[in-house]
């Protein structure tokens, strides 16, 4: 039984060991005083349809933590720990786990997975427990525009509203004026629908059709047929990897001249889409939102990160870094939290929350944040960070050709 991995707790104490190796001493150093760790939580789908996103976030976070701990930790040497809870993308499970996380000693913030609903439905709890929620992937507009005062939710990722505009824009740029929407029947799907409709409306357009699908859907052909019959030239989708793969397969089964280009939210990269879609992936024109690529990057920081990544997780190539957006955004998000803790000089969550709104510029892996957040803006990224990507035949995300 694939039991939930919510009790998986990985504590990396890399800094101590690393410094001991890099700074050998003839006399044993005095035993440092025992400081409580600074705990960050990762509350994501670690084993289900979007497990890849959870793992990507975990890896990005771990690399950030390792760097921070290698630097001596925070607040005078307090090491950072990551506590992971796997909610499978199911809000009900997440609700229970969130309560556990909230009661975890020294927990400062919780990183989300790619699902927004587990947190959206717990805004009351989040506010009540003054939990800092940092989203490295979850994109629902509502996640940030939640009405909480103060707002404890921050995001270093795409925002549905912007994604809507981005995808519509990209479709239009490719001559696809008549767009059909294919969305999962969740809060995220509805959030994306809203964004897409608004984006289309901004272009005085409307979706030729909107189709919905359920999680665990087995066949998307009816929806695609409906969109086609509605005259869609392209399909804008909001789906996670399992359902996204079904869409790809269904599209691939259509005659080549009937296959519609797909413009997808980043959700389909949260799982192992290449594996799920198989050969169909190469037969379909699929564009997907991304914010960062390791493949082909020439940035030194990125190269160093890749090196650490390979060193830590045993990969060899940049192509082996799955869901790079999640890893990159998690890495930057952890650093921003660390900066806020340092700035607040405390792990007191309200103060850290306030510090997050008061951070200065920070050069992250994905971008340089000037600053990442403000009191009125809890979105660290903007439309300029969005990129359109596609899968290579090998299943590697690469930038789409213009």
């Amino acid at each position: 039984m694939q039991r939930l991995g919510w009790m998986l707790c990985v504590v990396l104490l890399l800094s101590g060991a690393a410094s001991a190796q890099s700074k050998p001493s003839s006399t044993p150093p005095p035993k440092p005083p025992t400081l409580p760790p600074i705990v960050l939580g990762l509350h994501a789908d670690m084993s289900s349809g979007s497990a890849m996103s959870g793992e990507a976030i975990r890896r990005g976070a771990l690399l950030a933590l390792s760097e921070l701990n290698a630097q001596g930790g925070l607040l005078g040497g307090r090491k950072l720990q990551l506590v992971v809870r796997d909610h499978h993308g199911v809000p009900a499970r997440a609700t229970d786990q969130l309560q556990e996380l909230a009661s975890t000693p020294n927990l400062v913030a919780v990183l989300t997975g790619n699902h927004s609903a587990p947190f959206i439905q717990n805004f009351g709890f989040i506010l009540g427990h003054q939990l800092i929620i940092m989203s490295p992937w979850a994109a629902s507009t509502e996640l940030i525009d939640n009405g909480l005062k103060p707002n404890y939710v921050f995001r270093v990722s795409a925002r549905d509203e912007a994604v809507g505009r981005f995808l519509v824009q990209k479709a239009f740029e490719r001559g696809h004026k008549k767009l059909g929407l294919l969305l999962e029947k969740t809060a995220w799907g509805r959030s994306t629908e809203k964004a897409l409709r608004e984006a289309l409306a901004s272009h005085q357009q409307a979706a030729v059709a909107v189709e919905w699908f359920n999680w665990a859907e087995e066949d998307m052909e009816p929806q695609l047929a409906a969109l086609e019959s509605a005259g869609a030239q392209a399909v804008l989708i909001a789906a996670n990897a399992p359902e996204g793969a079904l869409i790809v397969k269904a599209m691939a089964r259509r005659p080549p001249d009937k296959r519609l280009p797909i413009y997808s939210h980043s959700g389909i990269t949260a799982g192992n889409l290449p594996q799920l879609a198989g050969p169909s992936l190469a037969q379909v024109e699929l564009h997907v939102l991304q914010t960062f690529f390791f493949v082909g990057t020439r940035d030194a920081r990125a190269q160093a990160f890749i090196a650490r990544y390979h060193e830590t997780f045993g990969t060899k190539r940049a192509e082996d870094i799955s869901a790079p957006t999640g890893t990159t955004q998690a890495y930057d998000a952890v650093w921003l939290l660390a900066l806020a803790i340092e700035k607040a000089q405390t792990t007191d969550r309200p103060k850290v929350r306030d510090a997050l709104e008061q951070l200065g510029p920070h050069r992250g892996l994905l971008r340089t944040y000037r600053p990442a957040f403000t009191a009125s803006r809890h979105e660290a990224l903007d439309l300029s960070d969005y990129k359109l990507a596609t899968f290579t035949p090998e299943g590697v995300l690469v930038p789409s050709q213009p």
């Binding site: 199911v90 009900a92 959206i120």
Partner: protein, 723 residues
């Protein structure tokens, strides 16, 4: 009862018994077969019902189970489990309308649970248990569902057994929720079996629906049916059929059994109705049979009644002239004609028989009345016919004479040769006879004239011999008597002539003697001589008169006289003689009722005097002579008895006692004519005389005389029989 003794009644009774036996056998056989058939039918019915019901239940369970399985994998519900924000819009309406398919599905409770067993939503048709309102996490089955295994189990709620079906809802190998259905197991009952067919669904814990008595439940649990077998049993007034459920129940280890019960009345009622119908039909058929038998036998019995009437007429009236004269051509007609022919012959034979019987009767009468003794001997010498005269002659009855062969018993040794010769002679046909002495029972040898005749049947086969035996003793006596009579007659003639010739000289002698006596000149001696001459001459004259009386046939004058009178006169005459002889002479006075005699008084007195005188003469002094009279033991006569205690007579004397001139008295004292004259007197009166004597003891002489007025024809026979 009389009717049932008649042929019609017996036929009716016979057919009635046949009907009863047939109906009884039919009822027994048919009801037995019907019972087996009904039992089989009920078993088949129960099996069919059980099979249908169990199939229905299994199908229902499988259907519901399959539905729940598909519901759990339905993406709509999967999505609903995961999507907490928006599902209210689409999930609630869906769940409100969600029902289990199949029987009672509309009454089933359905829940959608999250991964922790909390209720996301449920169908809203029925209030549910309070514990189920929020979560099922505490339920025993939940741990199984959380392990990803569907669960089926029986729950108890509200006094009813419910079946709970729970399926995990998977998403990417994770159990993210569950769908649960719970429904009253009784909903599986479906349409209750018609006609009182009871249905109980039984689990190891007890009935899930329906009712079973404790005994029935115990018996069901004791059953351990082999695979493929469905035990049935009869308990009390109910048949039970136990059908272990297969399919869903077996696959999920429920161990359910369906118990169908059928009131035994279902079996027995049709049997009773069948028996009643058969008995009713049998009774109806008996009535029909009775009518048919009475009607049918009427035509049969009418000829029979005619036959019977004819027979009755013959039996009651002996009228063999009656005839049935039945014209029918059937067997009865044949019988009647045969019977008529038989009557013809019978009448003819009867006439012959009557004639033969008359002949036989006549012969029998003749034989019986024959004075001759007749015996018919068969070829073995056994006596077959033995008439009355033979019995009288020989003293043996038929039974007694038949004890031994006739010849051995009757023919003395000395006569064997004679008789054998006689038989030989008779064997040639015809008769042969001879005079021979045969042995009688009492009197020893009896001289008979024996005539032997061989007899044969119609074809000449010898049947035996007829012996006709005539008593020759009387003949001999008569013959002797005849000789005596002839002798006496000759003597009488002689005596009469002689007497007549003697009377004259005697008269002269006596006259001259008397004349001489009257002469005075005669001396005494001469006178004495003359007196002696006269006396002796007188005596001679008296003798001559006696001879004349003996030989003279006088017709006596008879008169009625009492015996006592006779006795008085005779007694007076002999009283002195007895006294002188010192002999007790006693005349016993006869009874006053003694009848009178009609006799010649003088002759009877003379006879009595002869007898008394003889008695006195034979009796020595000191002896006794008694005279008496009494009614004769046989015949209508009177016995006059003179008995003495004298010297008696030897046999040879007795044989000659009645011969004339035979006397044992000294010469000059008796003429020898007394007893002879007495017998002549008595026999002249139709009487008889008998002498019983024993030498040295005495003699008794009895006279039998007919009473006055007795028919003369009877005298002889009575006198003969008297001896």
């Amino acid at each position: 009862m009389r009717f049932f003794r008649s042929l019609q009644g017996k036929i009716l009774l016979f057919f009635f018994l046949i009907d009863v036996a047939t109906v009884g056998a039919l009822v027994a056989t048919v009801s037995g077969n019907a019972r087996e058939a009904l039992e089989q039918k009920i078993e088949q019915l129960l099996q069919l019902k059980a099979s249908e019901a169990s199939n229905d239940i299994e199908r229902e369970l499988a259907f519901k189970w399959s539905f729940m399985q598909s519901l759990a994998s339905n993406t709509f519900l999967v999505n609903s489990v995961i999507d907490p924000q928006g599902r209210g819009e689409y999930l609630e309406p869906f769940m409100q309308k969600l029902q289990l398919p199949g029987l009672g599905g509309e009454k089933a409770d359905l829940w959608l649970l999250d991964f922790a067993g909390r209720v996301i939503t449920r169908n809203g048709l029925h209030p549910t248990h309070a514990e189920h309102e929020s979560h099922f996490a505490q339920e025993s089955w939940w741990s199984k569902v959380r392990e990803g295994k569907p669960s089926v189990m029986v729950t108890q709620r509200g006094g009813h057994s419910h079946l709970l079906l729970a399926f995990p809802v998977f998403y990417h190998q994770h159990i993210e929720g569950a769908v649960v259905a719970e429904f009253d197991v009784a909903l599986l009952r479906g349409a209750e079996a018609e006609g009182g067919l009871g249905m109980t669904l039984l689990s190891a814990q007890g009935p899930l629906f329906g009712f079973l008595s404790v005994d029935a439940l115990s018996q069901v649990r004791q059953l351990n049916p082999a695979p493929g077998q469905h035990p049935t049993f009869l308990l009390g007034d109910t048949f039970y059929w136990v059908q272990p459920l297969g399919g869903f129940s077996r696959e999920h280890g429920l161990g359910w059994s369906l118990v169908l019960s059928e009131p035994a009345e279902k079996l027995f009622l049709p049997l009773r109705e069948l028996r009643q119908r058969m008995l009713g039909t049998g009774a109806f058929m008996a009535v029909v049979f009775a009518v048919l038998v009475v009607w049918g036998t009427g035509s049969l019995l009418r000829p029979l009644e005619r036959i019977e009437g004819t027979m009755r007429g013959i039996v009651d009236g002996g009228d063999l002239g009656q005839r049935i004269r039945l014209q029918s051509r059937d067997e009865l007609g044949s019988i009647a004609r045969t019977f008529d022919q038989m009557l013809e012959r019978l009448e003819h034979r009867t006439l012959e028989l009557e004639r033969s019987r008359d002949k036989a009767s006549l012969l029998a009468h003749i034989t019986s009345a024959s004075p001759s003794a007749i015996a018919m001997l068969d070829l073995q010498g056994q006596v077959r016919v033995w008439n009355q005269a033979a019995e009288s002659l020989f003293g043996w009855s038929l039974e007694q004479i038949s004890e031994r062969p006739f010849l051995a018993k009757v023919v003395p040794a000395a006569a064997q040769e004679t008789v054998s010769a006689l038989l030989t002679r008779a064997g040639g046909g015809g008769s042969a006879e001879t005079e021979v002495s045969l042995m009688s029972r009492e009197t020893g040898p009896v001289l008979v004239q024996l005539q032997v005749t061989r007899i044969a049947d119609a074809v000449g086969q010898p049947l035996g011999h007829v012996f006709i035996m005539r008593d020759q003793r009387e003949v001999k006596r008569l013959r002797e008597s005849l000789v005596q009579s002839e002798k006496m007659a000759a003597m009488g003639t002689l005596v009469a002539g002689l007497s007549h010739e003697l009377n004259n000289p005697l008269g002269i002698i006596i006259g001259f003697a008397q004349g001489l006596e009257r002469r005075g000149t005669l001396d005494e001696s001469t006178r004495g001589a003359l007196a002696s001459i006269e006396r002796q001459a007188q005596r001679c004259a008296q003798l001559v008169r006696a001879l004349l009386d003996f030989s003279r046939k006088k017709i006596p004058l008879r008169e009625r006289v009492a015996v006592s009178t006779l006795f008085e006169r005779v007694g007076a005459l002999v009283g002195g003689q007895a006294q002188r002889a010192d002999i007790s002479f006693e005349v016993l006075s006869p009874s006053a009722e003694l009848p009178e005699l009609e006799v010649s008084v003088q002759e009877i007195e003379s006879a009595l005097l002869n007898l008394i005188t003889n008695a006195l003469d034979a009796t020595p002094g000191g002896g006794a002579v008694t005279v008496s009279a009494q009614p004769a033991a046989q015949g209508n006569g009177v016995e006059l008895v003179v008995a003495d205690t004298g010297s008696g007579m030897p046999e040879e004397v007795l044989q000659r006692a009645f011969d004339p001139f035979f006397t044992t008295k000294p010469v000059g004292q008796g003429t020898g004519l007394g007893l002879s004259i007495t017998r002549n007197i008595v026999e002249a009166h139709g009487g008889a005389i008998d002498v019983k004597t024993a030498p040295g003891i005495g003699t008794t002489v009895r006279l039998w005389l007919p009473v006055a007025g007795a028919p003369p024809q009877a005298h002889r026979m009575e006198a003969t029989a008297w001896k």
